[in-house]
Each structure stands twice: as C-alpha cells, then as structure tokens.
C-alpha cells in the first residue's frame, strides 16, 4: 500500500531530525577517536589533519555543520512546541531551521575553501 500520508513538511522535519541525530551519534565516537591521537600518536594526528585539507573532506564538513545546525535548531523548535504556549507556524519554523542551517554550513564552506 502507498504511504501518501507522510508527504508533508512536519513529517519531513521529523525524518531530518531523526537522520541527523543518528548521523551525529555515529560521528561523535569517530571524532573522539581522532582526538585521542593528540595524546597517543601526534604524528598520526598530523597526518589526519593533512588529509582533512582535501576538498572531499571540506565538503563532508559542510554536511556535518548542516546536520549539527539542523539538529540543534529543530530540537529547539520541538522544545518550544512542548514547553511554551502553542504557536501556529510550525511549518515555517521547521523550514526556517533548514534555511538557517544551509546558510550557516554554506558560510563555513566558503571560509574553508
């Protein structure tokens, strides 16, 4: 059976929040692992930082900043929805979170290249 009931803004916002949450949870252990090189293997860290200058990694960082930002702004929207008096315009808020995150990640990318 088809699932036409999901094609609307807030459901997509839910999906984005879930995917960004899972992706960030997967990223964090890798992040700490690389950071541990600073204590245990400084040469390896230098090598990694050199590799991190490549364009493909810069592009991945754009995605990472976007995920971080969209997860934080989306989370703030949900907390406002659940703890503050109800406001209409949830769709606008969710779309604004995506727009602001794209903008932030775009600035990050422009500064990096």
């Amino acid at each position: 059976m088809r699932h036409g009931h999901r094609t609307h803004t807030l459901w997509i916002a839910y999906l984005l929040h879930r995917i960004s949450g899972v992706a960030l949870a997967l990223f964090l252990p890798a992040h700490f692992w690389v950071l541990s090189y600073a204590l245990n293997a400084p040469q390896k860290l230098d090598g990694f930082l050199h590799w991190a200058e490549t364009p493909i990694v810069k592009l991945a960082e754009f995605g990472l900043v976007f995920l971080l930002s969209v997860h934080m702004l989306g989370g703030l929207r949900l907390m406002a929805l659940e703890f503050l008096p109800w406001t209409s315009g949830q769709k606008t808020a969710a779309a604004s979170a995506v727009a602001a995150s794209t903008f932030l990640a775009g600035i990050f990318l422009l500064r990096a290249i």
């Binding site: 059976m1 088809r2 699932h3 036409g4 009931h5 999901r6 609307h8 803004t9 807030l10 459901w11 839910y14 949900l78 929805l81 659940e82 703890f83 109800w86 949830q90």
Partner: protein
Amino acid sequence: MPKEQQMSVSVWRGGATGAFQSFDVKMEDNQTVLDVVAWIQQYADPTLSYRYACRVGMCGSCAMMVNGVPRWTCRTHVNKVLKDGHMEIGPLRNLPVIKDLATDMDPFFDKWIAAEGLHHPTQTRDDPIETIDPANAARVEINAGIECINCSVCYAACDTVAGNPDYLGPAALQRAWSVYNDSKDANKQAILDAVSGVGGCHNCHSQGSCAVHCPNDLNPMNAIAGLKRETARNFFKRRT
C-alpha cells in the same frame, strides 16, 4: 453522444491478508469516493463490505485509505484524488480489518476511555446548571476539540500509533485535553496520570500527520503539546 469515461479503482478485498481487486467504474460529474464504493457494491460485487451512515461528514464512519491517505470518503470528490484515471481504496490503517473496507474501531474507542476522555462530574442533577463563560480561555481551548467526529483519520495517519500499539493516539489525547480544560471536571489528576503512562502523550513525535489529515481541520498535535506541558508542570509541582 460522447463516449462514457471510466476510471479504474483498486479496492482491498479480504481481512488482514488479502489483495486489491480492480473495478471499472463510470465517471460522473459529481461523484465522491463513497459514491464509487457504493456503486461497486450495488452494481459490480454485492459482497463488498464497507461502512457509512450519514453521507454528509457528520458521523465519521466512512473513513478509508484513498491512495494511501486517510480520508472521509463521503466528502472527498473523485476529481481530487484520481491520478491518471486510477485510485486505490483500502481499509483504515492501524486498525484490525474485519472485511474489505470495514475496520474494527474498538481499539480506537477503547483508548478514549483509557485516556480518561470521559466526564468526571462535580455536581449532581439536583444542583443548578453551572454558568460557563464562552470567552474564558480554557473554554476557548475546548472549542476546537469538541468538533471531532471520531472518524479515526488521525489515528490512521499517525506513524507513532503504527510503531507502538499501546499509544493512545491523537483523537483520544485531544479528547483528554478537552476534558482537562473543562471547569466542570472533577478529576484532572486522573487525566494527567492516564495520559503520562507508557502509551501516553510523551510518545508523540510531533510529525503532525494528525493535523494535516483531520477532515475538520482540528489540531490534535496542539492538544498533545498542551498535555505535555501540563504533565511536566504537574511533575515538578508534585516534587516540591
């Protein structure tokens, strides 16, 4: 005379297991999805089972999945849902299928009771009728919720219900929110306890499918957010 226009309609046949059966139905200028189902039952296959009563969007008994979207079929014009001369009609999602397009609504209504969406009286029939100010903020909050026609469209649209069979669902929680805001209700603590349990309001992921698909433009997500606020407030109040 112009050639008769036909549409192809896939209709669910069977119970929990079954298959879609295709019917060719004559197109009319003014035709609802319920008209199509009735036509099939009257002229193509009298064994087709479905449920309806009022045909004017009052009773909430004719809801079905149309192209994967829950809708009140009596107020859904065929032109609105027909895609390339085809549509698919199935029984409401998240409810046990009795046969064909008829679902067992018991779990849906049992959850209204489980959510304490029932009146807890403060007075007896011998007391004078209490005056309620229609402009009172709590009464205004109730206004939207009481327009619910119990059609279960929100319940069928909700992915949280699909993922957690214990979840009370948008309609029952909205009912609980209406009763909670009623100044004539004597047991608001029972409501808060009922809606903050395992299947309670905190399961809601705020996907908002209930509000998008509600045929009466109600917003159960708003009501559930209200219950989340009140249960949180109640939690901290009890601790101090």
